[in-house]
Symmetry: C2
Subunit: 396 residues, 2 copies
């Protein structure tokens, strides 16, 4: 039959990244396109013991329906950690457990965005968030990015030009796809602009713990005096993404709406993954595990940057992240990295083209995103060597 | 600050059922308001062994990101079971794993429903589905129910009066909240009406396996020759709801849209619960476990019906289910069961008022839903005795 799909889904495309993942299944292909955490860091033995114990001794808790808000001890543990690590502590805030960081963004959009509302986003930004806003038929307005986060003049101009703007979506720390971090001054400026213009800020911070040198710029949420910031966090990068455990910390009035939306979406997040996250945090030293992750990713990032310095043409610009999973490169010279991706794939190396992360995905981009988190030094070196050979042909 | 929530969430109320759940936390209260499966039937020891083994031996599969469509062996196992048990077998169909049955309905709505589209629903019907449609600003049109499913004249009238109708949502087997089953003739009639009017049917079948006497009326999906039926299933009632594993079987063009919607919603369903469902199905005899569940629920349902016959006023009408988890009673006499619920709660017994399941939730209803699945014979008897004492006061 001839299906009449909803307008929102008729225009929606699948993530180009996930399409590249399918291609990357070939073991000869070196994929610099992923965003997966390093599997050697998963505490699988510890989780095996906990899972068996929980299922044996607490079958009802592990397997029966739970409450939409999430497992209460996990919510309390998340609150305590947010207070200790991110200085997020406001009596009017609540925490809800969600099915991965993506669901936190999606439910925030559901609670706030009407058709035609403008959502102000960094450009480039995380495609999963952009698509969540698109699925509610929001208008996306992009803000230019500097090495230290949003360009404030561009943000002010975008706010002035979009009177129906409702929220600002930002990944201030180790941004996806750029790997850059917004300075403290700019965080304060973004918050003030939001305040003046009655805008909500969604602060997405899945990578914040993965700081290479241990330093942290204060979260925007930690400066939030009037319940304006929705903070989205995740266990995907500090424990394991397959568990699909994220959380939202926001003013309780917002969390109440998100709870109603979540009840409609999936009733509650699966119990066993919630219990695993809680028991792991309680019995083991998550912070010590994170210190190991930081060293792992810092080494891989440095390895990739060294390889880039050696093998890429000199005028390719790259960010130098202080944390997270990604490096952003710009080939300039009017190169279309979407078109170039096919040549690279034929040479057994893949990346994510910059256009994927833009408001207008059809506009060619000379930039691209590279990921280093799941690979050996040798694969990183070989991947960059392959890319460098191709880039040297097109960038002269 | 003064929050500007989206229109869809401004009007949305939390589920009354879940509010009653909170009240029912008092151990002295006998809750006939739930819909939970019997926890003594959870195969927790088997799942404990499987979980420990998977996490120990397959850490990447268990803990890394998975694909949006779901774990391929589980999708294949679901397809094989649908073919064997429900005679659902169409080369153009696909299966996607979702985070519980609720997400299957929600994503179907997301893929199909535009603001203002009419969704035709049984009245009464499952509030989780009604709220999913409401959250997309659909217009709900209710169809009257007989003991053997939808009143076909009412369905025809509703279709004729709603030219912008896009889909019919039905729970033909052991309906929630009525416990009734649509006859084969009516299933054929509903399918023909959908066909004539270019409507999609969402067939929600979470209870189908829980047939007391082993007999099954063919699913509407098994008659689907033109890819018109979206079949939503779940492991919540045959394995464990806390795992949040459901599935959708539909034409691949529809499933493709649902995949894009799911990618935005939660990327993919948690891996460990998917693997537990698959390994349990593969290593153990799920059908034998279901035979035990049928006997358990058949006994409890009979116990409740016997108690009703003994303790309720003679002119209270009740359905006599052949499966599932619910009995639907009507007190008649202009009784408002929403108002009466407070009296019952004060007497330590709770049910779900009929108005909860209606298109217009503000209209008083003399009906109510009773659940028997998680209680001992004694609690069932005592709960019905308490209700009977109150009902005898108001129904004379």
């Amino acid at each position: 039959m001839d299906y009449r799909f909803s307008d929102r889904m008729s225009t929606m495309r699948g993530s180009a990244i996930r399409e590249i993942f399918k291609f990357a299944a070939d073991p000869e292909v070196i994929s610099l396109a992923g965003g997966n955490p390093a599997p050697e860091l998963f505490p699988n033995e510890e989780l095996a013991d906990i899972a068996a114990e929980l299922l044996r001794n607490q079958p009802v808790l592990s397997l029966q329906y739970g409450v939409t808000e999430g497992y209460t001890p996990l919510r309390e543990a998340v609150k305590a950690r947010l207070k200790r690590v991110e200085h997020i502590d406001n009596a009017d805030d609540e925490v809800i457990i969600v099915s991965g960081g993506q669901q936190g963004i999606e439910l925030s959009a559901k609670a706030l965005v009407n058709e035609g509302d403008t959502v102000i986003v960094e450009e480039p930004s995380f495609i999963g968030a952009l698509n969540a806003f698109r699925s509610y038929n929001a208008h996306l307005a992009g803000v230019k990015m500097d090495e230290d986060g949003m360009n404030i003049a561009s943000l002010e101009k975008t706010v002035a030009e979009n009177k129906n703007a409702k929220l600002i979506y930002t990944i201030p720390t180790f941004q996806n796809p750029m790997g850059t971090t917004m300075s403290l001054e700019k965080r304060k400026a973004v918050y003030e602009i939001a305040r003046k213009n009655n805008l909500i800020i969604i602060e997405d911070n899945p990578y914040g713990d993965l700081t290479f040198d241990g330093t942290k710029v204060p979260t925007i949420k930690s400066m939030d005096v009037d319940g304006r910031v929705i903070y989205c966090g995740s266990f995907s990068k500090i424990l394991a993404p397959g568990l699909r455990i994220g959380f939202v910390c926001a003013n309780q009035a917002i969390v109440q709406k998100i709870v109603v939306g979540k009840q409609i979406s999936d009733v509650h997040t699966a119990m066993l993954p919630q219990l695993l996250a809680y028991e792991y945090m309680t019995r083991f030293d998550l912070d010590a595990a994170i210190v190991k992750m930081r060293a792992n990713y810092a080494h891989k990032c440095r390895t990739m940057l060294d390889a880039i310095a050696r093998d890429f043409p000199a005028d390719v610009t790259c960010t130098r992240p202080n944390g997270g999973l990604f490096i952003w490169c710009d080939l300039g010279h009017g190169v279309d990295t979407q078109a170039l991706a096919a040549t690279c794939a034929a040479n057994k190396v893949v990346y994510v083209p910059g256009s994927t992360f833009m408001v207008d995905m059809d506009k060619p981009s000379s930039a691209l995103r590279l990921n280093y988190s799941t690979m050996s030094d040798e694969r990183i070196g070989e991947g960059i060597r392959r890319l460098g050979a191709i880039f040297s042909e097109v960038v002269r």
